[in-house]
């Protein structure tokens, strides 16, 4: 089992801090995009890319690599920040986000940027890609693992539950999904707009192993990854309770930061907090 020590946790925390800064800077330069849901899942994605996943930035198409699918594709800045930090592409490219001709599309395109595994952005579809990748792993008897990150609002898409049924039916224990449970969607609180609750019970009823964690507690994230690795015969859903906009006080738990980029002064303010 991989070690979970205080020094490793400090390393991951530092990666998450850098990624959060990158997210703010990218969105500031782009002038549009989605900060709230990028920041809420930063700690989860930091644990995946810098502690959990077996990937090779020098060989992005390595057949045995672990796969990460950003099903909540609007958190693209988070994915790009992780890939840049991992060394898939030079950091300078981050500031081309959402610009004409940039490989850093507003929502991820696997054909434009190495390291991006799926074309996502239309909610609900990424989990199905992940199920397909996990099925391929089973067919080929490979031991790679597949990870997907979903938003809690995304669970309102019916397709998510078609995919959940299939993942359980085909006993995809090589699949883990994180639900970034920040409680907000564009129009307001998920509880007011269209509640997907009880989320844990739903996945359990669909035959999944379900864990509920604090999505900003690195130890809990890592422990959930270990638990999932040891779970046999079914997929794992980790319901990660998070705060939208986490790390930037004026954005935290504020729905207006779902899809609004910070202006120059707001970028400066956020970077000061993330210094």
């Amino acid at each position: 089992m991989k070690e979970i020590s205080e020094s490793i946790i400090a390393e991951i925390a530092e990666k998450a801090r850098v990624m959060r800064r990158d997210i703010i800077e990218m969105l500031g330069a782009a002038g549009s995009g989605h900060p709230g849901g990028s920041l809420s899942a930063a700690d989860i994605v930091a644990c995946l890319y810098f502690w959990e996943m077996n990937i090779d930035e020098n060989n992005p198409q390595w057949a045995d690599r672990d796969r990460f699918v950003l099903s909540k594709g609007h958190a693209a800045p988070l994915l790009y920040a992780a890939l840049a930090e991992k060394g898939f592409f030079p950091r300078e490219k981050l500031l081309t986000l959402r610009k004409l001709g940039s490989p850093l599309q507003g929502h991820p395109d696997r054909n434009k940027l190495a390291g991006v595994e799926a074309c996502t952005g239309s909610l609900g579809q990424g989990i199905s890609w992940a199920v397909g990748m996990a099925l391929a792993g089973k067919i080929d008897k490979k031991d790679y693992r597949v990870y997907a990150l979903l938003g809690d609002g995304e669970l309102e898409e019916g397709m998510v539950w078609e995919a959940s049924m299939a993942a359980s039916h085909y006993k995809l224990d090589n699949l883990l999904i994180f639900v970034d449970h920040n409680g907000l969607q564009i129009d307001g609180r998920i509880a007011d707009i269209m509640s997907p609750e009880p989320v844990a019970d739903k996945f359990r009823a669909f035959g999944w192993e379900v864990l509920a964690i604090d999505g900003h507690d690195y130890r809990q994230i890592m422990e959930s990854l270990v638990t999932a690795q040891n779970t046999r015969g079914k997929p794992t859903a980790v319901i990660a309770n998070t705060i939208k906009g986490k790390g930037c006080s004026f954005m935290e738990d504020r729905v207006e930061w779902h899809g609004t980029a910070p202006k120059k002064d707001e970028v400066a303010k956020a970077l000061l907090e993330l210094a």
Binding site: A63, R67, V69, D109, R110, N111, E117, A118, C119, G121, S122, G124, Q125, G126, I127, S128, W129, A130, V131, G132, M133, A134, L135, A136, G137, I139, D140, G158, M159, E162, A163, M165, A166, H169, Y170
Partner: protein, 313 residues
């Protein structure tokens, strides 16, 4: 004359291909007995995935499987594959430019008694409007088999439109099938009948009837709707000066529309499009329905005479 449904030819060819290529994975959405993927499922259960009655997830899974190097054949009825799951086909398979072949059966009104809910008359329009997707509508069992083998070789997304009823075999086993190249089955100078799918046979019958009147028409099996054989269409427009298009599909957005786009821009001549005139189908036997919607050889002959009047103006 020997008969075979294109879906039966698909099932057999899929089995053949599955024996040859280990990278083929077949998906279906609880219709494997009807789409004829069931034989593949029996022979290669480890490479067959039943998605259940969940077409959207089937298309998403197909994308995921293709990223891992699988050549995926995903089947359902045309209405569900292209209608229910349109946005998954668009955003996951086509935008991802993935090696997924959507092989949909029960296209058009010849589904018959099940009625309009199951009769897809919009699928060609939907699929040809999406970038990256190659659209094929074979006219018989022989060309279906050839099409499938070609699709395996050609990397990228494709839509193969197949039907329910048994059809006469039009092509010889040694036919040349090239994606993007229409096949002129009859030569003639008075007009050109451009048809796809089940309407190719009807066009040939209409050509026979016209021959009895001393009229010679060209008949083209336009099995590929995208990429469309522009050169052949322009050549036939120039040679015959009048085109009749025939498809078991809406006249809006389908093969006829595609032909008109080419004719308008490159060599304008009178065209009449035959197909469903912006209406849904209904229950009935396939033959009754083809008669009702004006798609019999005799009705084609009538339209030919309308076309000739336009040509002579």
């Amino acid at each position: 004359m020997e008969k075979q449904a294109t879906r039966d030819a698909y099932g057999k060819a899929l089995l053949e291909l599955g024996k040859l290529h280990q990278d083929i994975v077949v998906l279906d959405a609880d219709l494997s007995k009807s789409t004829k993927t069931a034989e593949f499922a029996r022979s290669f259960p480890e490479r067959f995935i039943n998605a259940g009655i969940a077409e959207q997830n089937m298309m998403g899974m197909a994308a995921g499987l293709a990223t891992a190097g699988k050549v995926v054949f995903a089947s359902s009825f045309a209405i569900f594959a292209t209608g229910r799951a349109f946005e998954q086909v668009r955003n996951s398979i086509a935008y991802g430019n993935l090696n997924v072949k959507i092989c949909a059966t029960h296209a058009g009104v010849t589904v018959g008694e099940d009625g309009a809910s199951h009769q897809s008359v919009e699928d060609i329009a939907l699929m040809r409007s999406v970038p990256n997707i190659c659209v094929l509508v074979p006219s018989d069992g022989v060309s279906t088999r050839k099409a499938l083998f070609k699709l395996y070789e050609q990397k990228g997304p494709a839509y193969l439109r197949l039907g329910r009823p048994s059809l006469p075999l039009i092509h010889d086993d040694d036919m040349e099938f090239e994606i993007g190249k229409g096949i002129e089955l009859r030569k003639g100078k008075d007009a050109c009948l451009i048809a796809c799918g089940i309407m190719v046979e009807k066009a040939l019958q209409a050509a026979d009837l016209l021959l009895q009147e001393g009229i010679g028409v060209s008949v083209v099996d336009m099995h590929t709707i995208k990429p469309l054989d522009k050169d052949l269409i322009i050549e036939k427009a120039r040679e015959t000066g009048a085109i009749l298009t025939l498809e078991e599909h809406s006249v809006l957005g389908g093969m006829g529309s595609a032909v008109c786009e080419v004719v308008c821009e490159h060599f304008p001549v009178p065209v009449i499009r035959m197909g469903l005139d912006d209406v849904f189908g209904q229950s009935g036997s396939p033959d009754e329905l083809l008669q009702y919607y004006g798609l019999t050889p005799e009705q084609i002959v009538e339209k030919f005479h309308d076309l000739i009047k336009k040509k002579q103006k």
